[in-house]
Symmetry: D2
Subunit: 385 residues, 4 copies
């Protein structure tokens, strides 16, 4: 049977809820059966209707959803809760759902800040259910390939990591227009203590740590609010050093006028380098000094790619997979993990997915850059506990 | 309610059936309820199981599926048949399904050859059900944008159309190895009278006609079998002239060693040109002599794109949509058309989808290039009836 | 000593004369000592002055230049004549210069048409001087590399050649505005029997033949005058077959609005393919089915490039060389050939340059496509004698 | 008359001397008449011979060259000294040449360090001759365009500058192999107190300051020696703030294995952004939030480019100019400046060239990042006097 999922958030006007639903549907492992899509009961009900749900299962609040679903028969009731709300709601829903015996998959960041994330981590450790965090970019097959190439030693010892995430959509005071996405992301109450860096800097940090198989140990940061009237940083630049001895530069900005979602990473080791651009995710460059650069391309027919990449592709080369498919890889892998968990079997590590560890690490990064930026000291250590 | 779909073909080992299933699932408008996935009852049954279908609705043959589903209650029974078999099975299934009162969505080409397509067209004209043809590339939002820009006169009167579709996967006699995709595509019985041109040349022709809003009127072709032992063309090049007075070049090949699925089109008119590459489908170039080329990018936030493009996008700019999403646009639009049809309402023409007309036109193109290639005459007219 | 050069054509208002002068100067092997830069003595004199020439050596006509230079001492007099005039003047100057004992380097096409080219060829065969034709694109190091890779069998037997040369600058009746470049190029008297194809189609044909190491044997063409009032073709498309059994498509156009000088070539053989784009000339793609494409890059430090490429580069990788450097390679190689000739030594074949053979072949191609286009026959053989 | 130039450095085995010679020759304004090409008299003599110089004017030392050339007649003697030696020789030669009444054009950096640069600046201020510094990348036409667009306010107030310069050639201890370029660049005595940052970080800093029309005011740096046994930094990353209030990130590295000479810059202001890549120098991207990105392309026929760009291009669009042409723009502009100086005329500011101010600024940047890196303080002010 498909895994039955309920959703918190994702009503009309939201962006990411729709992404989660498509991602959950794509591989046919998960079925959306209920939701508390909005704090407005009417919005929730309308959303449920548009999704062809049983009207009784479009709830007016997540508390109601958890309570009522628990009372359903084991063949019917929701097994998994998907959290797609603004950040401030992540912790309470995840905690309540886990404590009620459900599995949880949550949009990132895991929580608003590091202390909340550590609290959630301890909840997870004592819960029976599983927890996944949708750090989308970790779902791309060529990101898996990059991680695998580094792990196999193809680059030798890593020296340099450059990761950048420029966007332009907050070049003006968009939140003043009532635009919903801008509104909550620039509000410390709902978003957390960082704006741009919390929103997309964490993506960049997590991607770097995932590919490098290494953790950011120390940071030196410069955070900025460029747009007058904004309450949180809309730009940041960070020098960093990893536990493994590599050095890096991480930049994220939402005031790079004209940029879309231009997440890029380059990693160099003693023996070569890798380059990946999220906007053209089906290409990965492998470079070595003195050799022609090799253009690795996604595709189920690409015999040269790793098992890690192959476990996350659906089409032959030249048929582009994108954002939904990367997202779906996380949902599918988590569905496999839940199925294994329920069956008492071992989950295949090829089907990896981000967990609270990535969540803690991302928020530890934010915590450290904020401390660094405020203190005036040059280097600040990242603390993950 | 979601539209209930049954599938013919798409069992284990097939490629395109899986694509159809994901495309149908992505927008939540269609539910797969049954299938005759293989001529092997066991394969069909196993496939149904992997898809979490009711075991009773994984049929051993399409004839059985049509017969048994007709007997189900109107709340339960399949409404739509998806045909994802090799080409030779397209006509018999489509005809039987339409005559049994079902809607049909079929993989391309519509049939093996022009005469079959014309026969199917007459079946469709007298049927109550609707018919759609999954010419995937017509589902891309920036292809819609290109068509719209041409239609709005942004390029002026069209002069030149260059469309090319190089692949490399048949550079060797792959069919001799038993590779399933190669096997039937190079077999005249199952594929029809043309190999490469029927398989991908029709994609190129249909894309050109769609964007230009014009039909290919005359062709001058050179078809080739490069790989010894092959039974059908694995390469073709065609000069053409359109009804509207443009001139063009269409090439398709499956022996361009190292190429993936590199469908590209460029169109030039008196005032400017357009360029689109399927492997990077979220970018469309608009060029005008004496001005900087403009890079149009897909995204729900791109205010400068047409309503036609906006009706077919799901993500903000910089979050790549790809092959499944284009495919899903055809399924979703067809679901909307069926819903409107059933409700006696008018279907919104923004939600267009390819029909038997595109099917006939594609096979008329193949018919003409084969006649031209065999006759030795320079120019051969395309006949669509 | 540097080789002393005189120039015919290239006065104020000309484009290509300036290119020739810079190309000749770049490698320090050639010194411009005189010129008949214009039919206007005043223009010629002014041009000479701007080039810091001895005022006595800025001549009012090429006849005068040939006559007066012959009378100079052997240490002083011009040794080489560079012809940079419109096409109609190529034959008379080249013939007279060769008959007067000078070496000749000429802009392409060699002459207006095939019969003139054959006449020139016989003059060259009986002259003592050498003759070079500046088919610029043959001077690019990665074009040399491509030719070498094909010759070494890296692609196996060639199957397909795609070469295209779209420009947009004649999208309107520019010649009606008095624009000098457009004026003579669209005038049959000065340009020859073909416009676009003679001007840039010959570049495409010559490039294809050079890289393939093969000759175009048969053509099937469609030539067009798109702009009303124009006297010569501004567009052409050609299917072709080579002596070696490959098939190809050649297109050239001057009405592709928005295109600059977008000469591209792709070549595929049994084992792989090559791709080169003139507008980014320092990159050459080498593709093989089932392997990552390799991006070969120009640079004196690229150990993997052939001797043929290395003989034509000046900078380390990443320091782009371009049009002048390609042009200069032809001048420098010809200077080496002249020096070897004068010294009675053998010229190193690595330092190759286009000769009258490329000139004849290009005009034989034009001759064949015009005959084909007019005759209505499908295939027309190319005759080179 | 052409300006007569002598060269110091650039004998057999050198790289940059050859570049300077070609750049000086390209526009026909300068004539190389003499040189002290090497500390080896034999090398110098051989080099002179290969350049077809008067054997008497290939000197064994720069001191000899300065002395002997001063004694020549004013029609004959060298007017301009080109310095293409390792950095340690820049100051003594430039000082002596200027004091002897010659003009000087020098490879960068101006000197080994800031104090030398300030000393040179005071020499220049009291000399009659002019001084130019070949910061090549400032010679590219689209860099001029970028600077002009910023100056015209097309981007609004600048917010962000990202400039990066990754190379890979020092990924190993190349200096231990005796490779000449690596040898002196990693030797503090000849190179100065910084390796990578002095060599290419200064290029990046100067490019950023030039395009922004602004100066780097504060830096926070992390410099590294990655390759064991190396004496100077082979990598650096710098956060910076400008006098005008923009923030930026500058990275330079010579251990990015597989990278060639990948200098890139992106600049964002309130209204839009610019992007330029040195390896494809004929394209400049202009982006604005909510509009298609515009691809500006070099070419004398591009009416939309500024006068600043047009003053530095030679070919129509699509005929790539590159490194030598950018270099030649500096030489030509300096030749124009010398001619104006000698004629007592005003030099046209369109023909700008880098001077000791850029030299001081680059070395002040190096001075500040070294101080910052050593001190442990977070931000260090750049001092230019």
């Amino acid at each position: 049977m498909r895994i039955r999922m309920g959703m918190v958030g994702g009503g009309a006007g939201a962006f990411i809820g729709d992404v989660h639903r498509r991602a959950a549907a794509l591989d046919g492992q998960i079925e959306l059966v209920c939701g508390a899509f909005s704090r407005s009961a009417e919005n929730s009900s309308e959303t449920g209707k548009s999704l062809f749900l049983d009207p009784e299962r479009a709830y007016g609040s997540w508390q109601e959803m958890l309570g009522r679903e628990r009372q359903r028969s084991s063949e019917q009731r929701m097994e998994l809760v998907s959290i797609v709300t603004p950040n401030d709601v992540h912790l309470p829903v995840a905690r309540a759902a886990l404590e009620a015996g459900f599995h949880v998959i949550s949009d990132k960041p895991a929580t608003r800040d590091l202390s909340e994330a550590l609290e959630l981590k301890s909840v997870i450790e004592s819960a029976d259910g599983l927890y996944a965090l949708t750090h989308t970019y970790l779902g791309y097959p060529l990101v898996k390939e990059a991680r695998d190439l580094v792990a196999q030693g193809e680059l030798g010892i890593l020296r340099k990591i450059y990761v950048e995430y420029p966007q332009g959509w907050l070049s003006t005071l968009l939140e003043a227009t009532g635009q919903k996405q801008a509104d909550w992301r620039t509000d410390p109450e709902r978003s957390g203590p960082s704006g741009c860096m919390g929103d997309i800097g964490t993506h960049a940090a997590t991607l770097a740590e995932y590919i490098a198989g290494d953790l950011i140990a120390e940071v030196c940061a410069d955070l900025t609010i460029f747009v007058e009237g904004r309450k949180l940083d809309d730009d940041g630049a960070v020098l960093f050093r990893t536990e493994g001895g590599a050095k890096g530069v991480l930049t994220a900005s939402q005031v790079c006028s004209g940029e879309e979602n231009n997440l890029n990473i380059r990693v160099y080791g003693e023996l070569g380098g890798l380059e990946w651009h999220q906007q053209e995710p089906n290409t990965l460059w492998l470079k070595r000094q003195g050799e022609p650069a090799r253009r690795l391309r996604a595709g189920v027919d690409q015999g040269y790619l790793s098992a890690a990449a192959h476990a996350h592709m659906r089409t032959p080369s030249g048929h582009p997979e994108g954002y939904f498919e990367a997202f779906a890889n996380i949902y599918r892998n988590f569905a496999y993990a839940i199925a294994a968990h329920e069956a008492g079997e071992t989950h295949d590590p090829l089907h990896d997915y981000p967990t609270i560890d990535e969540g803690v690490s991302g928020l530890a990064f934010i915590d450290a850059i904020i401390r660094n930026d405020r203190s005036g000291e040059k280097w600040t250590k990242v603390s993950r506990d």
